[in-house]
Symmetry: C2
Subunit: 417 residues, 2 copies
């Protein structure tokens, strides 16, 4: 037996760099992985601030699990269910799971809207959900508009294997990075000039990395825009339960249920339990679409990334417990607000300002423009290298979030309990 190198035998996807692993975003992660900080064992290691984790309220979850042994198919109390659950592979998911998720999605949105369990499609995390949506809505070469700054993982999730393009929509600090109709029109027209067919608009609300929310007027303007252009609207709302102070979160579900002209077939929500519950390892991604054909197609595609039935069963039990869920959401927000305050106060003492309109998410949008020699992305990258290699913090530069203004950095107030 021998090894011969013939990578030309692989696919174009495998041979190209579409995954984006060499971007500063993933590079910072690798630096952290090779030298992780530990207060005792490796005090000079790199502190991870590049990963949005919500670990503040695991004590509540552990208490709940101890009190609910039947929620697991691996306890003496629950093991009789093991067989039926382990063999369950219907891509609709356990009915109890879909019911519980639909109820939880409503609760997280203040019960101002309802969700139909039959439109809940599961997927392998928000990562899998976004790719599935892209496969459903666009052909290779077609595009989604995405307001900047946006989560760097989108470049992998929506583009890599689908061949779909993402077109950044500009924003600026002078109006707190709002999504404006003018910027949307500009991006749309630019795509047209480049002969690129725009199939949709992808918004993240609350925003990662800004920690801001879209206000009602902006959401209505977005709905008008996508209807006029007859393109899809994909709303990533995976941080819905992390809004820790006023104003309250407004879901796209609330807007389309208003008396507004909207073709519901164009509207799709991506959700997940990775941020709101802090369970990224459990890979619970959700597509909620108002379009029957998309529900049907996404469900078929979910065969490639179903949620483990063991996990579906546990989540179904946990999220069906109204009292627990109410308490968890409230307590979690209180703790996040406190953590956010500690972090912003600390930065203020170091004379570092943050975007003041942030009231959600697990991050801050830090204004480090004053530390740049010149307002260029070269200088932003130079500052980033100092932060990662000398200050030993893994934060990402704003440019990796496609921010169009140099000098902004996301700071994650690590949400540890």
């Amino acid at each position: 037996m021998v090894f011969k190198l013939n990578n030309h035998l692989l696919s174009r996807i495998a041979s190209s760099n579409g995954h984006g692993e060499d971007s500063p975003y993933f590079e910072g992660w690798k630096a952290y992985d090779s030298n992780p900080h530990h207060p005792m064992e490796n005090p000079n290691g790199i502190i991870q601030m590049g990963l949005a984790e919500n670990q503040l309220s695991f004590d509540l979850i552990q208490d709940w699990l101890k009190n609910n042994p039947k929620a697991s198919i691996c306890t003496p109390e629950g093991v009789n269910e093991f067989r039926e659950i382990a063999i369950f592979q219907d891509y609709h998911g356990l009915p109890e799971f879909r019911n519980a998720v639909a109820k939880f999605m409503a609760k997280v949105r203040g019960n101002k809207v309802t969700f139909d369990p039959d439109r809940v499609v599961m997927n392998g995390g928000a990562t899998g959900a976004h790719e599935t949506i892209a496969f459903c809505l666009a052909d290779p070469g077609e595009a989604f508009l995405v307001p900047t700054p946006y989560y760097p993982g989108f470049d992998r999730d929506l583009r890599w294997r689908t061949g779909v393009k993402l077109i950044p929509v500009d924003s600026e600090s002078s109006n707190n990075f709002k999504v404006t109709r003018e910027a949307l029109e500009n991006a749309y027209e630019m795509a047209k000039l480049d002969n690129i067919k725009v199939k949709g608009l992808l918004i993240t609300n609350p925003s990662n990395p800004l920690g801001t929310m879209l206000d009602r007027e902006t959401l209505r303007s977005i709905v008008r825009f996508i209807n006029e252009k007859n393109i899809h609207l994909v709303c990533d709302e995976i941080y819905a339960a992390t809004v820790f102070s006023q104003p309250e979160f407004i879901s796209i579900a609330e807007i389309v249920q208003e008396d507004i002209e909207c073709n519901l077939n164009l509207v799709h929500i991506v959700y997940s339990l990775s941020k709101d519950m802090g369970f990224p390892g459990l890979r619970v991604g959700i597509i909620y679409s108002y379009n029957d054909a998309v529900v049907s197609c996404a469900r078929k595609m979910s065969s490639f990334g179903l949620v483990s039935s063991q996990t579906q069963y546990m989540i179904a039990s946990m999220l069906s417990d109204d009292e627990f869920v109410g308490k968890f959401i409230r307590e979690s927000k209180t703790r996040m607000a406190a953590r956010h305050r500690v972090f912003t106060d600390g930065l203020a003492q170091a004379s570092i300002k943050c975007l003041e309109t942030s009231n959600a998410g697990l991050f801050l949008w830090m204004d480090l423009r004053g530390l740049l020699k010149e307002k260029t992305f070269e200088d932003e990258m130079a500052l980033w290298r100092v932060i990662i290699h000398e200050v030993k913090l893994n934060v990402s530069p704003g440019c990796s979030f496609h921010c169009t203004e140099p000098g902004w950095f996301p700071g994650l107030h690590r949400q540890h309990g």
Copy 2:
């Protein structure tokens, strides 16, 4: 708000029928879903014989779980691990999980071969694993050869979203449906004439639906073939532990470790715990590749279908228990052999013969040629409709497995305990 139908706004994948849900294979499933048999509540319903489930030994698994409460992060004994596991999302997977899977894969193959845990890539079931392999190895329009009859789901798994083609390789009952060099050459040459680039050969060993295994000489001939053509070899070995009588299973891993001329970069194994352990709901799919570039690329792609960390943790504990695993594999084979005998004896009394070379899998390959008026696929479909609607058994017609000879049907001896 209104609903307007504009499916032209969806992708070609979503608008086309590439999923194959209208094939007789899935049609039988739908007939079963709408009228499932129950011995008491619905004795005239359809009996499910279209799903390969291994449920014979769940008592052993339930006992193990009761005796190992620390294997679950949802028991009082294990809950302290909940936080670290729920937040774990490294696409390499838990090291304990990869170690345990590598060890289990060796054990299932009689410890005649070893597997390197660093080459174990997880995926959402074998379904996700196959799609990932196709994305890694072939561009849209390129093809894999697949000996017939083959699992109908391959048409979805490998083709649907990748744009890859599958080219059937003929086989015939006169030599027990063996994979011959001649048939491989014919399929390869036909593809060439059609200007289709063949990138690989996909074999299933043990075979679904034949229940047969590839012998050593056939495996060597296949290895020579793919090396001569310089194409990939993907070996689906998800039924490795279901070989219940002599001769013993020979993995491709054993052949490539022999003194044989083989470029290991061309060889990839797909594995899963859905059949050998009977856990399809847990979605544990595995790619084991000897090609570093494929390991690296498949691992990045696994972000779209990671195994739930809750499930990884439980599987790691269970498969690390040598004594349990040994007992489970032995006992499971004994029970399968007994069930197989009951089933073949029953069919023999009804004068139905089966392919005699079957000694693996959860199925039989029934010879119903004598029940056809004429040896055509039209008559096979007519017989299938009688079986499903009058006899009320959900079996699939051989043609849905791309069998080239009419009159063969897979019979699944439902593996219930």
